[in-house]
Amino acid sequence: MPLTKLDRSANYFINAFFIIVCALITLPFLLVIAVSITSEDSLVQYGYRFIPHSISFEAFRIIFIEPSIMLKGYGVTILITVIGTVIAMFLTALTAYPISRRDFRYQRPITFYVFFTMLFNGGLVPFYIMMTQYFHLKNTLAALIIPLLLSPYNILIMKGFLDKISMEIIESAKMDGATEKRIFLQMILPLSTPALATLGLFISFAYWNDWFTALLFIDNDKYVPLQLLLVRILSQIEFLANSPLAEAADKLQYANFPTLSVRMAMAILAGGPMLIIFPFFQKYFVRGITVGSLKG
């Protein structure tokens, strides 16, 4: 809802520009889709082609050979993504707000404190010891959610968004006797919906794509998220197809295995649902919520 329209020709020009950009960006992506439905034979003979020589859904069939496991994987992933995103969004905004306030005396030290964790980390071993031996979080859903709750990058981006909120609004609310907690919950949060939506997108992507945490902390089949399942399937296929240690009889079965199509199909299966999440957050990309509307 721009306030004034540019003249039409400029508008057309910008639209044309983005259509070209998007076309260029989509091109390689189309290749991913094309390869995922190309039969192994034609891949072997003709290489990657935008228009498959012969179509086959074998790759998808292979991944869904045991649909119950895949569905469970989706279930776990959705669960941790939803829970994780909600908590993480709130926590991130909560941490970012005070350090975006210029009148906050400890603004700079805390910003540095947060920021420092982006540069330095102690590696996996101490983290693993802490999670498993002190908190006993092995094989729990919490182990999948907690490590990703508060990324310094997200906090600092959020701080960047909140920096723009003018001090006058906050001052006037304080005059009215509002506590900081109230200001945060009732003014800052509603004022920054586009920022929160962006944050929510990033956080949910992080949860959705994460498989390494699960690899570390999940031993049983109960809480294996989708991405780790896919990684495992892939590792099996690559092994059977290429390793000299794999037995002849197994190789028989896998020699003509559509490794590459399976890779591409996995990317689609893993990334696809994001196209549903995206519009959900985009709804909140709205402009023009003003303080006036809040007070009213």
């Binding site: 072997v44 003979q45 050979i65 045991e66 496991i69 005396r105 400890y106 700079r108 030290p109 540095f112 404190y113 996996l124 071993v125 693993y128 010891i129 498993t132 031996q133 002190y134 006993h136 390494f212 690899l215 570390l216 031993d219 990684v231 495992r232 399937i233 892939l234 590792s235 099996q236 690559e238 092994f239 059977l240 197809a241 290429n242 000299p244 240690l245 794999a246 037995e247 002849a248 009889a249 197994d250 190789k251 028989l252 020699a255 003509n256 590459l260």
Partner: protein, 533 residues
């Protein structure tokens, strides 16, 4: 100014706070590690001893009988990590069946923990680094969970001769004595028990039979890579669309020289006729290969080698098309042609060996006991069973009879498709020569493999491995240089006259001379100890 001062103070406070926490952590660390593990030990009678090594000696001292009677053994629970394909939904059922049998045999249960190949190293490294308790894991000399590196890090428990004689005597008897030194680490001690299987290698050219027949190629006349050149020319001239000689990023390095020992992967290389076993330095080796590099470059320029060889990630992708006339194969194991046929798009192939058959070691697959294990002696007993007990081995490999496989006759089985248990990793569990046979394996495949092992040439350098500590940074830097120039030269894509001097110069700058001197020094010491010098 005021703000600056307070900022600095806050930073200081934070730093101090961190150190305080670190100190608190460190004092808790040891007790924490031990306590945390107790929970999952059901009937652990030895839990008072805090350290696994002390544990072993204790038990070795108290158990005086060689064959401990079943009743005397307290029940224990073992953990066994190994790399595997996703085994299927019946993993638990098979695990239960294994436990039923184990309970009877050695009064133990085992928690089988298969991990996929990609996650095996990162996960095991974390588990071991954090001091988490487990008993057995699968390891190899240079692949997953590499042997020497993890010994250096203090992860594996030493298996003394006493222990092996006492708890794994039968399994040890299956491994020929002349192979055993391969299990020795740099310090001369043994830290793992081999999973006995094929242990010999021959480099071969893999030639498609249809072309060999068409051009009357006499396979027996081929002794080195050079002998194949006329054939490559014939293919190139007469068979359009066929790759005469196929190479890729993961398939190169078929140089052989009959006068060398150890052209491939061994710790040192020396000339066969050199009584002093003087090592060939990296520079010497590269220069010796000059002719080979030139030949390759000539082939590449002539179009005999696929143009994309140095950028082709997976050579298998090319081979699958079935139009690679000649490829290379590093192991050449009995029955391997069948395997190759499938990889070559169903086209029949023949092997043309171009190197000696040499022993590659039994340490390419082994089982180790963790230093954090509380029951190492029972773990070893379990490993012994895995390598000697045909029932147990086949149970863990193929699952439950009738449910996961059907028995055809005494030796042959047929896996039931999609039955819910198929880890497909026989080489992880134990002595492979105990395995049931599956079509299309021939009945004599195991005997043939054993013969191959026994007849393989055992190099003098065998059992020697380099202590990398003094030359660590040089090794790292030369590894990077080798990675930069090796594949390019080995696929013929670059002109050796131009690249070889650069390659050698860079290796030297990376400290190759120091490496060669250090290896020569260690090698001389070792030879003296062996009485060879």
């Amino acid at each position: 100014m005021k703000l600056k001062v307070s900022g600095a103070i806050y930073k200081l406070c934070l730093v101090l706070l961190c150190f305080g926490i670190i100190a608190a952590c460190s004092s808790n660390n040891n007790s924490g590690t031990n306590n945390a593990n107790k929970a999952d030990n059901t009937a652990d009678t030895t839990s008072n001893t805090t350290n696994a090594a002390a544990d072993t000696t204790n038990n070795a001292a108290t158990d005086t009988t060689t064959e401990p009677a079943k009743e005397e053994l307290p029940e224990v629970k073992l953990t066994f990590y190994y790399p595997s394909n996703p085994p299927g939904p019946d993993q638990q059922a098979v695990n239960d069946e294994v436990n039923k049998y184990l309970k009877e045999k050695i009064n133990a249960t085992v928690d089988l923990k298969p991990l996929s190949f990609d996650e095996y190293d990162p996960k095991m490294n974390t588990i071991m680094a954090s001091g988490e308790e487990f008993d057995i894991a699968w390891a190899s000399r240079s692949w997953l969970l590499s042997y020497q590196a993890n010994i250096d890090k203090g992860a594996f428990l030493e298996l003394t001769d006493d222990m092996i004689n006492k708890y794994a005597k039968e399994a040890r008897a299956n491994v020929p004595d002349k192979f055993w030194p391969d299990m020795k680490a740099n310090d001369g001690k043994v830290y793992g028990f081999p999973v006995y299987q094929v242990a010999a290698k021959t480099k071969s050219l893999v030639i498609q039979k249809r072309f060999a027949d068409k051009y009357n190629l006499d396979i027996s006349s081929i002794h080195t890579y050079k002998d194949i050149e006329p054939f490559l020319k014939q293919i190139h001239d007469n068979e359009p669309g066929v790759v005469p000689f196929g190479l890729g990023q993961n398939s190169w390095g078929f140089f052989t020289d009959p006068s060398w020992v150890g052209t491939d992967g061994l710790a040192v290389s020396y000339k066969k006729d050199d009584p002093n076993y003087t090592i060939l330095t990296a520079e010497q080796q590269i220069n010796e290969k000059k002719d080979y590099y030139n030949t390759l470059h000539k082939w590449y320029e002539a179009g005999y080698i696929n143009e994309d060889a140095p950028i082709l990630k997976n050579f298998g992708d090319l081979k699958k098309k079935g139009n690679v006339a000649v490829g290379i194969e590093f192991t050449t194991k009995p029955g391997g042609e069948l395997d190759e046929m499938n990889n070559n798009g169903g086209k029949e192939v023949v092997y043309a060996p171009i190197s000696d058959t040499y022993f590659t070691g039994i340490s390419s697959a082994m089982q180790i006991i963790s230093k954090t294990s509380k029951n190492p002696e029972r773990a070893l007993m379990f490993m012994n069973l895995l390598s000697t007990d045909k029932y147990l081995y086949n149970l863990i490999c193929y699952g439950i009879e009738g449910k996961h496989y059907t028995k055809k006759d005494e030796n042959y089985i047929e896996p039931i498709k999609d039955s819910g248990y198929a880890p497909n990793v026989d080489w992880v569990f134990g002595d492979q020569f105990n395995a049931y046979l599956k079509a299309p394996q021939t009945a004599d495949v195991w005997q043939k493999t054993i013969d191959l092992n026994n007849n393989a040439m055992v190099a003098a350098s065998y059992g020697f491995s380099i202590n990398q500590d003094p030359i660590k940074s040089e090794l790292a830097n030369t590894a990077a240089v080798n990675n930069e120039y090796g594949p390019a030269l080995e696929t013929g894509a670059v002109d050796p006259a131009e690249i070889m001097p650069k390659y050698i110069e860079k290796l030297k700058a990376a400290g190759q001379d120091k490496i060669d001197q250090e290896i020569q020094k260690q090698w001389d010491e070792w030879l003296k100890k062996q009485g060879l010098k």
